[in-house]
Symmetry: C2
Subunit: 311 residues, 2 copies
Amino acid sequence: MNPNNIWQKARIAVVGCGAVGTYYGARLAKAGADVHFLLRSDYQQVRQHGITVYCHHGDFVLPQVQAYQSAEAIGPCDLVIVAIKATANEVLPKVLLPLLHENTAILTLQNGMGNGEFLAEHFGEKRVMGGACFVCINRLSPGVVQNFRHGLIALGELDGRPQQRTRDLVERWQAAEVPCQLEESLNALLWRKLTWNVPFNGLAIAAGGMDVSGILADAKLAELARALMHEIREGAAAEGVQIEADYVDFQMDRTAVMGPYKPSSLIDFQQGRAVEVEAIWGEPLRRAQANGLPMPRLEMLYTLLRNLCRR
Amino acid sequence: MNPNNIWQKARIAVVGCGAVGTYYGARLAKAGADVHFLLRSDYQQVRQHGITVYCHHGDFVLPQVQAYQSAEAIGPCDLVIVAIKATANEVLPKVLLPLLHENTAILTLQNGMGNGEFLAEHFGEKRVMGGACFVCINRLSPGVVQNFRHGLIALGELDGRPQQRTRDLVERWQAAEVPCQLEESLNALLWRKLTWNVPFNGLAIAAGGMDVSGILADAKLAELARALMHEIREGAAAEGVQIEADYVDFQMDRTAVMGPYKPSSLIDFQQGRAVEVEAIWGEPLRRAQANGLPMPRLEMLYTLLRNLCRR
């Protein structure tokens, strides 16, 4: 890592210690970064036993981590990584405040669309970076996560082109054994990510509780997944984001190696937790509709999920 | 009733004593027709206690009915009313055989499409009539059914225009307090019926177990129900069957008075019984696709239901 990397000695907070926050925060902490985890229900467990990561390219344990029950106890940081469920965004204006100094950057790694805009509305666009995690990861129990497959993070700036801070953050994660890449357009990145989340997280629930191998094994469901991906491509194109047609093949191939992986939304659904229906399905639909684009399959999936996930 | 009505003294068999078979058979028996009920699991109960009908325009009990456990015990009839689930059609070639003489007519009152064709394939087109029941009806227990709302049967001939037998059967049911009407085209009738069954039976399951009032109460689900109806209209039009646009409004209005009615497919689904996925959703989709017509919403609903209903 470049010795001038601005995140070299940064104070970093991780808000939201589900699978993604725990894993990517633990990777930074393991590589020597000064990471502060804000926890709620998992606090006691993580405080006592630290974090355990099962990972397809090597397990590790951090027996002691800096764990907190309140943002006030953490205090101002240079970088705040937001990894709570998008359904809980309304707590962020209050929770993040004690973590900010004048130049604190905020990175959202949340699913779906609209999260960066929400943060920008409350804290100013200049602070906000966004990322997408291409990883099959589940939280097994408090402080224990398992990364089954893949692991890339892609990062970009909400208000435009990458800056020094974005490039340095990519390098920081790379130095922490996390494949990380820079994105010229955060909007393009999020549309690409949705080509997977929309069909697989959605059909996993709507088809009655199916892992991704079940979806791929049913020729009609697999075809429907592809049709949904093409709708997302059209939605992206209506915003000037070109996603090449063979990206659909790439996603299908990437999914084929995942085995019986349950998308996170299915696990949330099965465990009675909130599902990010608006961020993953509602927001891209509304954007496409604002562009006059009909998306019959996405609209139908959204309509079913809104009802399925509120019971 | 015209004294020359050909069904005046007919021997009639009812095969399949779920809600529809029991109700419409009981109406005929109550009006003096010679009706023979073929039962399986409900035999003992019906043999001992007869049939009880709760009906929005008057309850009645038939303390004794002609109940049988085998078609052989019934023997040849003039009219066989088929009201088993379409998912069990493969038993019909064997079950119906003992019920037929040279001129026996077969009337299918089953849900969806393809049932008349199936019977024609095995017993010849000339025998086959078809009908659609516009009724909110549930079987409460063996021999006990409840008709909540509506009740019309519409009847037609599989191979073309109504004949004397069709007209007389309409009159026979009318004389049994069943509103009954003649259809010039059975195919048109079945497409019309599907404008209701496709959205309401389907969304009731796919949206997570909703009665029709729940579907109507959610603006997006109600809009999706309308969109599905319009796809069915297009599928019908591709076969030369014109369904006027305001038939969709008629169906929505008709549904609004049903209250918290659970479509029969939802009850089947919730009770772990087979759902008529192919007859109601698969067959119209395949017909439309054969005409080069894409039906994205029907296709998606069919794909989800195929998976939901096999678990």
